[in-house]
Amino acid sequence: MNIAFTELTPIKAGEMVRKRELSVEELTKAYLKRSIALDGEINAFLRIEEEYALKSAAAVQKRIDAKEELGPLAGVPFGLKDNICTKGLETTCASRILGGFVPPYEATLMEKMSRGGAVLIGKTNMDEFAMGSTTETSYYKTTKNPWNLEHVPGGSSGGSAAAVAAREVPYAIGSDTGGSIRQPAAYCGVTGLKPTYGAVSRFGLIAYGSSLDQIGPIAPSAKDCAAILDMISGFDEKDATSMKTQFNAVAQLEGGVKDMVIGIPKSYFGEGLNGEVREIITAAIKVLTDAGAKVEEFDFSILDYAVPAYYIIASAEASSNLSRFDGVKYGFRAEDAEGLRDVYLKTRTQGFGSEVKKRIMLGAFALSSGYYDAYYNKALQVKALIKKAFDDAFAKYDMILGPVAPTTAPKIGESLKDPLAMYLSDIYTVSVNLAGLPGIALPCGFDQKGLPVGMQLIAKAFDDEKLLCAAHCYQQLTDFHRQFPALAGKGGV
């Protein structure tokens, strides 16, 4: 059977399975074949789990045959970022230190997805422990941007975004601590949603910055993201920070943007924003105003403090979260170590990459006695101010619009040479995490090199449905999200 993969969205794939146009096994096998073939060039996956995928496919087909009520994505394959625990399947966070670690428990996300009949076909590459903006800090491989293999896919969920962009999988799951879903989605020309903090359970997500981390979907369209969000969100008694919300975003997609008031933070369009990106975003704004939205500029100068505050808080939490990786109980242990101190020292020296070590040291420093007030406490104050600035803005606006990143995807090897510039490129995304808000990245054009540009919409906490509705409205009027890299169009496989 010939599948038009580049046309096939997750929702469409789900319909085909439901209508028995093809079986879950056929669909899964086709995607397995395709991702194995394409991934030789892209390196989106750390591991493609054929056997596991076929087993789940068979199980889902049985449930469909038994007329079990499953969601719209039942039987549809997906890729999962490798920092989310999968029972019985290796989970490494793309780090050497977790090499060979097979969790004996399932992330709540995976339980929810299994309940919805989703079929996992592999674990995607990422920056080591989600620390990075390019997926280059992975210990195992460098993922390439399907639009141009010389460029990075963004990060840290670069594997997930690249896999979706190349249509290796209908959709993927990522995690976003400071932009890690939205930025790679923008770089890869796909749609990525970072839900409100607490909307999706973090149980089983290997923590980077616990107060900022949030799991979310990466898919071709906002409509797909809505269906995925409906499946994965909701209160989880295993996560004390999860909230009692049950979204029904798919049902609320068609509201349009008429009379919506969209705030445009002036500082989002200031110095540092690439001209081409600015033009493309400006054009996107026009699409929304033409559809009936009102637009207003406002001052958001607190943004200047977002990046430093973010790096202090995230690194501080990371320095503590990553302390458990000591070579004692699981994962990698340095072979030449003698005695306890040596095990700690050598395991962590050899097991972590340099970006991770850098952030552990930064975080430990920010928390150390004598510096706590000057750094960590200050960062918490900034966080509170940013939250307040957003609260004030949302008293006036339904939505905030801006770019996702200052530029399109850089070339492989460029970013790590200038880490400060790399950190600063998170400027438009980190504040959303600091305030715990939902944010979505959607494709809105291409630069002259043919690389995708993404725009970001931000809403107030738990307005994820409204956010998706506005994004969907934009996508009804444009077709950037339907475009795919040439590489993805190579044959039906």
Partner: protein, 478 residues
């Protein structure tokens, strides 16, 4: 030693393991013992990606202890992470409370011989226990047992208000009684469910500022605590007298050798890099919740002691000892409900009973005889079935295996000879056999009556009421 008199200043950090059914952040059992690493799950062993969820029972217990110690309850509390590497701590951080502990500014009234004072509680905070490392001397390896990991603890931190070991022990006894009355901890020191760190300094009597203190960690019996205090006081004074200086440090008390060793000094003290635990929501305690718990509080040792003194006429000493151990007071109530002789019950409990109950190792207190059985013994004495001496004998015999005292008396033929004639006959026989003694008595030597009573009791194999024998003897000698 010089002429200077020194005052000892002591503050205590008491850790008590809470008697919740499950651990503080997961559903594993808190039961003591068990094969290593069988009371564990991915959460309490800190596996990647797992999250803690607070056991509300721990908060309830914390509030109860706070209310029982007249502490201020923190309406909006938080947990913090205390970071350090050690193999008994699988997350490499302990979830504790630094900035906003559950209780603050409490007070515990203590009394003992020659003192009566209030010990101020600085704060009480909730935290998780660590695992245990077990060293294998044969293979020179260390094994980690995470069963204890995540068992809830309350740390009760006192102000430096103690001036002697006696005060410290009185405080610990009082605190232990409060915790047991509240049912929040079994306070078994030998199982580590009550542990104390002792902060101690000395200063010349009259000096206002404190001396440099040392901390002795995890001493696990009252006796060892008293010894450790005496030894550390002596060590510090000697050091000062010799022209030296006390260094702020943590010391390990070796109870077998009766000395302490320096573990680490302040300079190499760890920086725990505390920060707010991001995985837990704030601990919000409403007035209503506090009230609900306050209403459910049981009678506390102080009130119960008053009740025993006023209601039962017990002496402050007797009432203090009985109510100082909840199990003993409960036992008292049960026995007294049957026999209705409070003083008699108290006499029993404070004698051989206490000795047998404390016969185990360390600070154990274990009652092996059920209350109804002690009541039977007391009633047998009351109804003259057995005399007091026999009763003591029966008590000692039935204690260990909780035997039926009535059956025991029967089987061993210990019941008193109720038959007056047999006693009269025996009296006559004894008098006939001891003419010399009889003569002495008649000559006014009253003392010898005891000898004659003894002889009669011997003849009767102890199975008579010595009072009856006494009366009959006097009658016969008239």
């Amino acid at each position: 030693m010089s002429e200077i008199k020194y005052e000892t200043v002591i503050g205590l950090e008491v850790h008590t393991e809470l008697a919740t059914a499950s651990k503080i952040f997961c559903s594993c059992t808190t039961e003591f013992g068990g094969e290593p690493n069988t009371h564990c799950c991915p959460i309490c062993t800190g596996m990647p990606g797992v999250l803690p969820v607070l056991n509300q029972k721990v908060v309830e217990f914390g509030i109860a202890v706070g209310l029982a110690t007249d502490s201020e309850i923190t309406p909006y509390g938080k947990f913090d992470r205390k970071n350090y590497f050690y193999p008994d701590l699988p997350k490499a951080f302990q979830i504790s409370q630094l900035y906003l502990p559950i209780c603050r500014n409490g007070v515990v009234a203590i009394e003992g011989e020659g003192f009566q004072k209030n010990i101020r509680i600085h704060e009480i905070h909730m935290e998780e226990d660590a695992g245990k490392l077990i060293h294998d001397p044969i293979f020179d390896t260390t094994h980690a047992d995470y069963n204890r990991c995540g068992v809830p603890l309350l740390e009760i931190v006192s102000e430096p208000d103690f001036r002697s070991a006696e005060e410290v022990i009185a405080y610990l006894e009082t605190l232990k009684a409060i915790l047991q009355y509240l049912g929040v901890s079994d306070c078994k020191m030998q199982e580590g469910s009550l542990r104390a760190d002792v902060n101690l300094s000395v200063r010349p009597l009259g000096q206002a500022e404190f001396g440099t203190r040392t901390e002795m960690k995890n001493i696990n019996s009252f006796r060892s605590i008293a010894r450790a205090i005496a030894a550390e006081r002596k060590r510090q004074i000697e050091l000062i007298e010799d022209g030296g200086k006390v260094i702020q440090q943590t010391r390990r008390w070796d109870d077998a050798k009766g000395v302490s060793y320096a573990m680490r000094s302040k300079e190499d003290a760890q920086d725990y890099r505390y920060f707010p635990e991001p995985d837990l929501s704030p601990v919000v305690i409403s007035e209503e919740w506090q009230e609900e718990i306050r209403k459910g509080l049981p009678m506390l040792p102080k009130e119960r002691k008053a009740k025993y003194m006023e209601g039962y006429g017990l002496s402050p000493y007797d009432a203090g000892i009985i109510t100082g151990i909840k199990a003993l007071a409960d036992y008292f109530d049960e026995v007294n409900a049957i026999v209705g002789q409070p003083q008699e019950v108290a006499n029993w409990l404070l004698g051989d009973f206490m000795r047998l109950a404390k016969a185990g190792e360390g600070d154990t207190f274990e009652i092996l005889l059920s209350p109804a059985k002690l009541a039977d013994i007391i009633l047998m004495v009351k109804t003259n079935v057995i005399n007091r001496n026999t009763a003591k004998e029966v008590f000692a015999a039935v204690w260990q295996e909780d035997l039926d005292p009535k059956q025991y008396v029967e089987e061993h033929d210990l019941a008193m000879v109720g038959d007056g004639d047999l006693i009269k006959d025996t009296v006559a026989k004894v008098l006939a056999a001891n003419p010399k003694t009889v003569a002495e008595f008649k000559a006014g030597k009253e003392k010898v009556l005891g000898f004659l009573v003894g002889q009669c009791m011997k003849e009767l194999k102890g199975k008579a009421d010595p009072g009856t024998v006494n009366t009959l003897l006097r009658e016969a000698l008239k």
